[in-house]
Symmetry: C2
């Protein structure tokens, strides 16, 4: 559970940057090398690498180096944590809606 929220936190932090979201988006189409990815962004390579590292350390992507090129792959499972969070959120407010409906239907049971 502490595990869960630490991970969730990492995921949200990682996604809070537009560059990183764009990378995730791009990797949705399939794996790519750091260089190929970097070319699409207006920043120096070391700066871009930091984003890659952030994504990796938060589990959103996975990278492997073979020879001199590092290839990045999306990790869809991690992204699913966001789905889960949203689902829970929805669950919470649906419960609330239910209570409200109950109240309208049968106010006696809700006194006090």
């Amino acid at each position: 559970m502490a595990q869960y929220s630490a991970r969730l936190d990492g995921v949200f932090v990682a996604l809070a940057d537009p560059t990183r979201r764009a990378v995730v988006r791009r990797l949705g189409r399939g794996p790519a090398s750091v260089g190929d990815l970097a070319r699409e962004f207006p920043m120096a390579l070391p700066s871009f690498m930091k984003h890659v590292r952030t994504l990796e350390s938060n589990g959103l992507i996975h990278t492997v180096k073979s020879g001199r090129v590092r290839t990045c792959t999306l990790n869809r499972e991690r992204l699913a944590l966001v789905d889960d969070w949203l689902a829970e959120q929805r669950r919470i407010w649906e419960e609330r809606t239910d209570r409200l409906e109950q109240f309208v239907t049968d106010p006696e049971e809700n006194r006090q």
Copy 2:
């Protein structure tokens, strides 16, 4: 579109902090005053207020002050932007899966 991504960015930034996510969660059960909300978190009120302001300026919540108490309400629509983003992400990689399947089924059409 620029509007969209600016908003999306704000939403993710707002959700990148555990305190703020907890507030969103809490407000899912219904509106609450700043004071009531703050009581649940181990920080001074002014610090907490900043989070409230961040949530508000990014459109995730809506607040109204009546008398001396400010009441916060969740804005579910804004949260739906995350849903949309995830949906698009899914769309992208399903397209990819389709292409891969196509390739396996009928490699001739995919040469070069």
